[in-house]
């Protein structure tokens, strides 16, 4: 049956058809929908959100050792978190097949960096496949599991944003049950004490040699001969961009199996074409191999190192051409940056924090990163998941070394990020005794990636009720004695909590507990946050003096009417009452919606 699927949906379909039994992931754009779609095959696959990518991969490794085909998926930076188990499972090899999906982000649409995870396959010495479109996504999952089991290796499938999120037509098949492989205890293979690991190290090289032979013969790497004046080597999305530009006027070496690269096939192709282009996003991963094999080519000396290698970029680099486009008053267009939603529980917190002086705000990864922007200006940096607390700790230690420094550090992260890698960072704060203030913005869900359940939400990915981790108890168990839980929409309480934390010369944690406005509320939420998002605020224009203080809340439901010189509240308001508390004239009233 034919279906129109995104690359992520097609991967999930391939996982189903390949007889996979276990899947784990941590959400991250552009990979999130892979596990969400795998989870829909509830009868056949157990799909779980893990607290972080390292845990996800480790759980998948355990499943593979125990005998079930298993898959982990994550965004490119997630693989950094999961690299430790990857590099050692690369030595032991698998029992049932194991595949790791990395979703890279050329162009950094939703990411803090543009790392090229093809380097991980080379670094960890494992096999790698790169699909170009949704059909290949589905088909390559099956091939990846076959390669994993035949060559006794974890396999990486490397996708990019445009492969993950582009839809194309896919011919779907049936599920192929592969059963469980028997579990046999084998310490020489799986227990990596140095005496065993040195032997495994040798096997890894032998395996790479066999994989290289496979790479040279697999139909995943194929040549399309057209005119031999020009040849193009490309993989992944770049192959479709190159075809868009050159059509059938040039010859192609299309690479679908990209670690190890097919040296013999590259020689065959490069030796026959007069001019060779290597078109790839990010690093010169293929180009370097082509050059090592002794061929000159046009690669990063012609195409940009950064961003996407879309057809317009290729056309400009190769032919110096740009499409004719309409000239118009583009400067009239006002930016439309993302903003915290009306009713977002982070608003009250950032409104209060932004007013503080001599505070370094150590940020993290989530919707709340938007706290850096106007009107709050309440974040100094963010590095990676969970780093708010640990970077904050280091910064506070250095400020504290300087006797006359007034600086205090407030580390800010969400509930899901705290579970991800914030807990171990908080242990550093208590263990090494800095007076860092940590604020956990508990909005009862994983927000930015589109509302995934997490260890604190009370539900699993496949909808089973589970034990919700109590953040306050967890924080206390980490050795924090000063803990306060507040409603962030209560500006006075929020302010008081910050005053309290800043007055302490000891570590403290403030937990703001209020649901994300976009969350589908559970029964427990409805009981705990009675009547939430069901009210509305409005401006009494008789009382409003047009002072614009309410605009400093940065709420998209509040705007200033330049003709009447009064504030106005739109229908997007859900009654968080932050603006109401800010108004010095009590001109904002609450009403039942």
């Amino acid at each position: 049956m034919k279906k129109l699927l995104t690359g992520n949906e097609a991967i999930a379909r391939g996982v189903y058809e390949a007889g996979v039994k276990y899947a784990s992931a941590y959400p991250g754009t552009p990979s999130t929908e892979i596990l969400e779609n795998i989870a829909t095959y509830k009868q056949d696959i157990l799909a779980e959100w893990a607290p972080n990518e390292k845990v996800a991969l480790e759980a998948v490794i355990g499943a593979s050792i125990a005998g079930a085909r298993a898959i982990a998926s994550m965004k490119h930076v997630g693989v950094n978190v999961a690299a430790d188990p990857l590099f050692t499972y690369a030595y032991t090899g698998v029992n049932a097949g194991m595949v790791l999906i990395t979703a890279d982000e050329p162009g950094q649409h939703s990411s803090q960096n543009e790392q090229d995870n093809r380097n991980y396959a080379k670094f960890a010495k494992v096999a790698m496949l790169e699909p170009t479109d949704s059909q290949e996504c589905k088909d390559m999952v099956k091939t990846a599991f076959e390669v994993s089991e035949e060559f006794d290796t974890p396999v990486i499938i490397r996708m990019t944003t445009r492969v993950c999120h582009a839809k194309a037509i896919v011919e779907c098949g049936e599920r192929q049950e592969v059963g469980f492989k028997p579990y046999v205890k084998d310490v020489k293979k799986y227990l990596t004490v140095p005496a065993h690991a040195r032997g495994l190290r040798v096997k890894v090289e032998e395996r790479l040699h066999k994989l290289r032979q496979y790479s040279n013969t697999t139909p995943l790497n194929f040549i399309e001969w057209n005119d031999t004046k020009v040849g193009v080597i490309a993989s992944g999305a770049c192959y479709s961009y190159a075809k868009e530009v050159f059509g059938n006027t040039v010859s192609y070496l299309k690479l679908g199996f990209t670690h190890p690269l097919p040296d013999e096939k590259i020689k065959e192709f490069a030796g026959k074409v007069e001019k060779l282009y290597v078109i790839e996003e990010n690093d010169p991963y293929i180009e370097e191999q082509v050059r090592i094999l002794g061929f000159d080519c046009l690669g990063k000396n012609l195409f940009p190192y950064n961003g996407e290698m879309t057809s317009d970029i290729i056309r400009k680099a190769v032919f110096g051409q740009e499409n004719p486009a309409i000239a118009y008053a583009e400067n009239k267009v006002v930016p439309r940056p993302p903003a915290l939603c009306a009713g977002c529980p982070h608003r009250g917190f950032f409104y209060q924090l932004g007013k503080r002086k001599n505070v370094l705000v150590s940020g993290d990864i989530g919707c709340y990163t938007l706290g850096f922007a106007e009107p709050y200006n309440a974040m100094d940096y963010n590095i990676c998941m969970g780093a708010s607390i640990s970077c904050g700790h280091g910064a506070q230690q250095v400020f504290s070394m300087q006797k006359d420094s007034p600086m205090r550090v407030v580390a800010v992260l969400g509930d899901s990020t705290f579970f991800h890698t914030g807990v171990n960072s908080l242990l550093d704060v208590t263990y090494n005794r800095s007076n860092t203030i940590t604020v956990i913005l508990d909005n009862r869900i994983t927000g930015m990636t589109g509302h995934q359940e997490n260890p604190g939400s009370g539900y699993t990915l496949q909808g089973m009720e589970t034990i919700p981790v109590d953040i306050e108890k967890l924080v206390r168990a980490c050795g924090i004695e000063n803990v306060k839980t507040v409603n962030p929409n209560d500006l006075a309480a929020m302010n008081e909590a910050l005053d309290w934390a800043l007055s302490l010369d000891a570590p403290s944690v403030i937990i703001t507990r209020w649901p994300c406005v976009l969350k589908k509320l559970s029964q427990q939420d409805k009981e705990e946050f009675r009547g939430v998002f069901k009210t509305h605020c409005s401006v009494d224009t008789e009382v409003c003096v047009g002072c614009k203080l309410c605009l400093k809340t940065g709420c998209p439901a509040v705007h200033f009417d330049k003709t009447t010189k009064k504030s106005n509240i739109s229908g997007d308001c859900v009654g968080c009452e932050v603006c109401l508390q800010v108004c010095p004239k009590q001109a904002i009233k609450k009403e039942e919606a």
Binding site: L4, I169, P324, A325, K332, P338, H559
Partner: protein, 189 residues
């Protein structure tokens, strides 16, 4: 011959459902179809786009600058933001609907004046009052399907089996409403 349709708007306006119906219709009519969207942070009230390409064989899912045959904008200012992606002889369908972005709400910028005039002076422009028509149909949310109807007519795709496609892809209780919205949209071009 590959055709490219660029649907743009503001997160939450329903561009995704419109492009889903459109691409499903094109696939069922036997075209090769590719569509590209960017998800993630831009959903939080940011500018969004769905890029649809169809023909006998489509390679890249991404529309180039100067590459779209038609630009369908669910919001006025977004039409101007994305106009450079239109072919100089391409068409614009613009929803006569304004959503103020944060810098406008905060009073830092004014919403640009004369957008429709600027568009009309450069390219063949159809102005749709989709919000008004949606209100007449009794549900402001069907603005997206009205604009889809206008797009279908503009691209000469009205003979596809839209009745079935809509019924297959929206909840049963909303099928009639959406089919009416599609008809209203087709009537705007």
């Amino acid at each position: 011959m590959v055709k490219s349709i660029l649907l743009v708007g503001v997160g939450g306006q329903g561009t995704i459902l419109a492009s889903k119906l459109l691409t499903t219709g094109l696939m069922e009519a036997g075209y090769d179809v590719k569509m590209s969207e960017i998800h993630g942070m831009s959903q939080r009230g940011g500018s969004v786009s769905s890029q649809v390409r169809y023909g006998e064989k489509v390679e890249s899912p991404v529309i180039e600058v100067g590459g779209a045959d038609i630009l369908v904008s669910f919001e006025k200012m977004e039409a101007l933001r994305w106009l450079k992606y239109l072919k100089p002889n391409g068409k614009v369908i613009v929803n006569n609907y304004q959503i103020n972005s944060m810098p406008i709400l905060s009073g830092k910028f004014d919403y640009p004046e004369g957008i429709i005039e600027e568009l009309s002076s450069k390219v063949q422009t159809t102005v749709a009052d989709a919000a008004k028509h949606a209100a007449e149909l009794g549900n402001p949310k069907v603005m997206n399907v009205i604009l889809l109807g206008a797009t279908i007519k503009s691209m000469g795709l009205e003979s596809l089996h839209w009745d079935k496609i809509v019924r297959d892809n929206v909840k049963e209780q909303f099928a009639e409403l959406n089919l009416k919205a599609l008809q209203v949209g087709m009537g705007l071009v």
